[in-house]
Symmetry: C2
Subunit: 239 residues, 2 copies
């Protein structure tokens, strides 16, 4: 059975960029489940499956519609227990929530800072206007003023990844010897940055960058099927 997968795109429907949608793209590949992508722009979200959610990803699996990336991950493991597990036990389910909160509160704010203007630039006119208005209301300042802080914040962002960096000295994936949903949580955040912005978050020599490359290699290079913004735009910042 093919799972319908509503995922966020901008003007170019071939460049899905949402961190939360990338978690699910990887999770579906991990489970070996076929998906049919339904490219969804910001302003399309209220019409997804009758407005079931304010955000995507949303999936439809036959009669079942599930919203919220973490809930989708849990659903996939429960619905397809005979396929490779995303959590590897109840402990993994519980602790993946900690990692999700860590990623959301540590990685996401800085990626937002670094990529906000680039994400805006990926939208068509109507969605760009919505994005600017909603985000400027959220941040209380122009998009340009948010992104202006990215150089000043880079070193402390990199330092904040130290728990992940240190853990990678013990094992190749957050999931241990092989990746689990917890890896896709953090991968999604860095893939969001990779696809939306040429701004360089990590040094190549960083063990975190090497783990990210390993994640890009998974499932026949699924993550690489969308070219990096740096390559797509032909330039990058110099660190």
């Amino acid at each position: 059975m093919t799972i319908l997968f509503y995922e966020l795109v901008g003007r170019d429907t071939s460049r899905p960029f949402s961190p939360h949608c990338w978690k699910i793209a990887m999770a579906l590949a991990h489970k070996g489940l076929d998906r049919s992508s339904l490219p969804t722009r910001f302003l399309d979200v209220p019409r997804v499956e009758g407005g079931i959610s304010k955000t995507v990803p949303v999936i439809r699996d036959g009669d079942r519609v599930v919203a919220d990336s973490f809930a989708i991950g849990l659903y996939l493991d429960e619905a397809y227990p005979e396929r490779p597990t995303l959590f590897a036990g109840d402990g993994g389910k519980a602790m993946a929530r900690f990692i999700e909160r860590w990623s959301q509160l540590t990685v996401h704010p800085y990626v937002t800072t670094a990529a906000l203007l680039d994400i805006h630039a990926m939208q068509d006119d109507e969605n760009a206007a919505y994005f600017r208005s909603s985000r400027e209301q959220r941040f209380g300042k122009p998009l340009e003023a948010v992104t202006a802080a990215r150089d000043a914040g880079l070193a402390s962002f990199r330092a904040a990844l130290e728990p992940l960096r240190s853990m990678l000295g013990y094992q190749p994936f957050i999931g241990g010897a092989s990746p689990l949903y917890a890896d896709y949580i953090v991968f999604g955040a860095l893939q969001w940055a990779r696809i939306t912005s040429p701004y360089r978050l990590l040094d190549d020599s960083d063990i975190v960058a090497q783990w990210f490359e390993r994640c890009l290699d998974l499932y026949d290079g699924l993550g690489r099927t969308v070219e990096a913004a740096a390559a797509a735009q032909g330039f990058g910042n110099r660190q």
Copy 2:
């Protein structure tokens, strides 16, 4: 079978204070295993089990000697699989390592800052001299200068707990509905602070403080068998 448990103490052998030893005290109780505590001062560690480790905890379980708190946790689960699990699956084992690294890099440095002088004050003369010398070499400054930074660092320490705080909005323990070794990892760090120093790390209204109290209640209040330094010394800082 009773497990021999080498745990760190100061002058008062009834007040074990090491964060890593508290992880194992909780883990042994979780597994329902009897322990025989062998109070160990800093300068006794090189003589523990023929100098097997530079640190405690160390356990002896019959013929098996295991050092390093995480390794002991893994050993206990493997050796006693019929008793309540500490990790709840391979995912839990892997992700507990992330939480261990997060706690070590986020919670431990600030507790060290806050409690360093108080830990020094708990030692007998010989161990106090060792502690001062080794820690001043590590920090490159007097103990007093380290602890002088605690007021200035308190707000950012509390902010750094946000992933744990946010996760506790989803579930009562890091382990989910009930505690796992990952809970004892972070509990150990806060219990270390509680036993060594009257300095108040958390507001009572903080959901993290409430989780810590739940951990103190576990196993007939095992964590409360050692009185808080604040109560023991009859004073506390005012926030």
